[in-house]
């Protein structure tokens, strides 16, 4: 198995941990909205929506924490990859059905995003982060500068990820404006 430099590995693990902890936390913060979003995907029968809406954010938060603990980092990354596959599949199915007006539910009530292929591209970026976190880290000893680099790089990845999500959320507004002025 290839090894990854610890700076890059910690950058990916740290950024992914923060991203998934935040999205799980936001879903948990307003479970009723998330349950509504789950139902809107029309993939689960109603009795199953509540248990799913409860467990998904819990798994997300727990696995996010696991990414920061070296012994279980691999399994945490695998759990998140599985979860992200489920979410991406649900989005893809509804995109294929043409149901693009429903809310993604990705961030609970904090940010509304309608379904679009951009969400899948964003999830692809998360897959890359998780794949990096899955790899074992090389034996290089981390110095102070390495630590600073890893922290700053992780922070930058988190901010860029959030910015990309705002771009995705703004897109329908811009399109609606274009339609209004046309």
């Amino acid at each position: 198995m290839p090894q990854i430099d610890p700076v890059v590995g910690w950058m990916a693990a740290g950024a992914a941990a923060a991203i998934f902890a935040a999205s799980g936390g936001l879903k948990f913060y307003d479970l009723e909205t998330f349950r509504g979003a789950v139902l809107n995907y029309r993939l689960l029968p109603e009795p199953l929506a509540t248990p799913f809406a409860w467990t998904a954010p819990v798994i997300e938060c727990a696995a996010a924490l696991g990414l920061l603990l070296t012994p279980i980092r691999g399994s945490a990354a695998l759990a998140l990859i599985a979860m992200l596959t489920v979410f991406s599949g649900a989005i893809a199915i509804n995109l294929a059905r043409g149901r693009t007006d429903i809310d993604c539910g990705c961030f609970g009530p904090a940010l509304r995003q309608r379904l679009s292929w951009w969400l899948l591209l964003r999830n692809a970026a998360l897959f890359v982060l998780l794949a990096i976190a899955l790899l074992p880290m090389g034996p290089r000893t981390m110095g102070l500068l390495d630590l600073a680099t890893a922290i700053m790089a992780a922070a930058t990845v988190i901010v860029l990820y959030t910015a990309a999500n705002y771009l995705i959320a703004n897109a329908p507004g811009l399109r609606a404006l274009g339609a209004l002025n046309a």
């Binding site: 809107n40 429903i102 809310d103 705002y166 609606a176």
Partner: protein
Amino acid sequence: MPRGFARWVRLMLEALVISQVLLWVLVLAMALMMLALLRQVGVLHERIAPMGALTLDRGPKEGEAAPLFEVKDLRNGAPLRLGGARARSTLLFFLSPTCPVCKKLLPIVKSIRQSESSWLEVILASDGEPAEHERFIRMQHLEEFPYLLSADVGMTYRIGKLPYGVMIDDEGVIRAKGLINTREHLESLIEAKQMGVPSIQQYLQSRQAEAGGSHPHDREDGHEHEREDAQGEDQANGHDPLAPRAAAGKRGRE
């Protein structure tokens, strides 16, 4: 020579470390600036978005006679007539038990039913299994509303998204209709009936036309005022223009 070289390497390393740290700080600062900018773009979109209930140009149009229907009231099987001349105007409110925004709006619909009862009858409309809707009526205390279950009505009005409102006046003419996400959207339907303008978009367009062609400033001003009144309530109710809503899949484009 070796000593001079070692000193040079150390100086270089020091410079690189400083430059590295400084660059990271600047990269992060730029990313944060971009994030702030994109948030502002989102806020701007929200502020200039159309204010009234969003009109989707499908189904019977404003100003046309409402299609005639005779359906059964879910509560007691009594016949419910839609369209045609009536004693009062009718607000058809399309909803579904699985739509969170509908539930959030129900208290407002209830208060409108009471305060406007002199001239307005509010009818709830949906489709699906009667048992599910009967449970919904019990849980949300909707016993006082006429409640109709008819895929036919939903199809005729081309309801693609919920909650959706249609205002039919006492002569059976559709006065206004649109997707409803907030209290303001709902009130805009009532105002549209009272003012005789089918939608805020058309009101703004007619104002624009009066002002002599496109005068963007004029339009922005109009929004500004309405937005200010609206925002307090908007926050109090926790509504969001993009809140998840159940699209009525069986009827829409699927």
